[in-house]
Symmetry: C2
């Protein structure tokens, strides 16, 4: 299997054209990328009116979008970007194979832990890359993505050092104007991101639907946030991903500057969409238990969130 850098005009599929898929895929397409979107409910709207990215940092409109109803219709690609909600991962078993040829790379931009492992187990370890999105997005209508802020990407190989293809993909994202970082230890980066997501995404829901500023302004939840971060860091450390203790202080400081921020899981929850409970809380909790880490706070938060956000729930606002 060869993984040289892609030829010019290499073909890209975006599987899971929600907010993340449309935003990052749309950026590549706008910059001349040969991007093909798998769409379901938004297909007709996007074929008719294209893709609208609204943003204070400069939104844009893609009039003509390669929107497809199936991955068979898209056919084999050089790069598959997986941006499906992790709650829909089982669907990937059927969606991915039509997109693969010998050297197709599969880049998951999904949240939490376990997604690279899931894809590697099915489609081969060497294909797999992962990306972490630090962004606040919402799909507000069919084909309409609202970008509220941030947007940086961190991209790396799954379980190995960066390759020529990694640098190429990082360059291509960077060329669209997105701050993109190549990371040499993807697993450590995933854990570092969870240090933030576990408390803030979780407490924003379990705390009654509150923004990050209210979590930090509450003395008890502020303390719980720091202690949850320490649990996640201990679990990471027990898997060999050492995160220095000062990271907690940095995260708190950074979050205070963000103001009344709605974590992505809170947006999902308030909009009645499924919350990615297993990849953000379930998998780190199980990994922590497996390595003998004390995970009491994480356990409480995980099981409460699982109950509060049942699969397939639709809440009425």
């Amino acid at each position: 299997m060869s993984f040289e850098a892609f030829e010019p005009g290499y073909k890209i599929a975006v599987v899971g054209a929600g907010a993340v898929g449309c935003y990052y895929g749309g950026k590549l397409a706008r910059n001349g990328g040969n991007v093909h979107f798998l769409m379901r409910s938004d297909l007709a709207a996007v074929r008719k009116q294209g893709l609208h990215i609204r943003s204070q940092d400069g939104g844009f409109h893609l009039e003509r979008v390669n929107a497809h109803a199936s991955t068979e219709e898209i056919g084999p690609c050089d790069l598959v970007i997986v941006a499906l909600k992790t709650t829909s991962n089982p669907a990937l078993d059927a969606l991915i194979p039509p997109l693969l040829k010998e050297n197709t790379a599969v880049l998951t931009l999904q949240n939490g832990l376990g997604n690279e492992e899931f894809l590697a187990g099915r489609f081969g370890t060497q294909r797999i890359m992962g990306g972490l999105c630090f962004v606040c997005l919402n799909r507000t209508a069919p084909g309409v993505i609202e970008h509220y802020g941030y947007g940086t990407l961190s991209i790396g190989e799954f379980g190995r050092a960066s390759q020529e293809r990694t640098r190429r993909i990082v360059e291509d994202f960077a060329a669209t104007g997105i701050t993109t970082r190549l990371v040499e230890n993807l697993a450590t980066e995933r854990w570092r991101k969870l240090v933030w997501n576990v408390p803030f995404n979780g407490l924003s829901i379990a705390g009654g639907g509150i923004t990050t500023d209210l979590i930090l302004a509450d003395e008890g939840l502020h303390k719980l946030t720091r202690n949850l971060m320490a649990e996640v860091m201990a679990a990471a450390g027990n898997e060999g991903h050492v995160i220095p203790h000062e990271f907690i202080e940095e995260q708190v400081r950074r979050t205070l500057k963000m103001g009344a921020y709605k974590p992505s899981s809170l947006i999902d929850y308030l909009d009645g969409r499924e919350v990615e409970v297993e990849s953000i809380w379930g998998e780190p909790y199980r990994r922590g238990l497996a390595s003998g880490t004390e995970m009491g706070r994480m356990e409480a938060l995980y099981y409460l969130l699982k109950k509060l956000t049942p699969p397939g729930m639709v809440r009425h606002r």
Copy 2:
């Protein structure tokens, strides 16, 4: 200070005439007890129409009730029953002194930990007794108490063996038809009750307003319930109150039989009343921390409940 058994016709004050105070005080009064109720919002209604206790086990109506607007009006008593919500404990500083003479006993029927200590610090250790109520009650209108089930009492001295007065009070409650148990280690009993209250009262609120059967039917919350019980038992053990591990299984079995039960804190929460967060979760959490007990699940639950049920909250149903 002498604490002989009370003379016949001994005078009793009930401070905090909510559901618990009216139910237990009403039982004593109906049986000929010389009971005086401190009332606030219900005073006019009770003076006019008396006290209604509704129950499937046989309700009753007290036509004439000694209802008072102040403890000065009641004056010195032989026994003071404290049934105020623990969230109003600071009010006791002013309410109790007019009721005291040299050998007045003070029996708190309040929930959780720390109430005997609170009263002992202010009014003298030797006066203090405690009672645990296993009952499901709700005040549904001024002067109207709904009794949904259970009702047993466990009564003991604070920090010492039972006295003649303890036996007398136990007998007098038993004579009203209430199953009443004299306990020789009140503190252990308080911890044992918390083994149930901490998970069930807490998760019924934090889990989204659910009854105990739904907590146990949910695989994650069921596991969390047992692990929270183990944390409470570890904290109790570190204070010398050994509760055998089988207690967890017993509590789960007992609760399964209760069906769709609403813990008292859930009723408070749903009715928009303050929840007794400090005495049920805060104090045991702090005691556990002080004795070096690992209390991660308790910490998460405590701080979430504190945020979800702010003091003075009034929710609209």
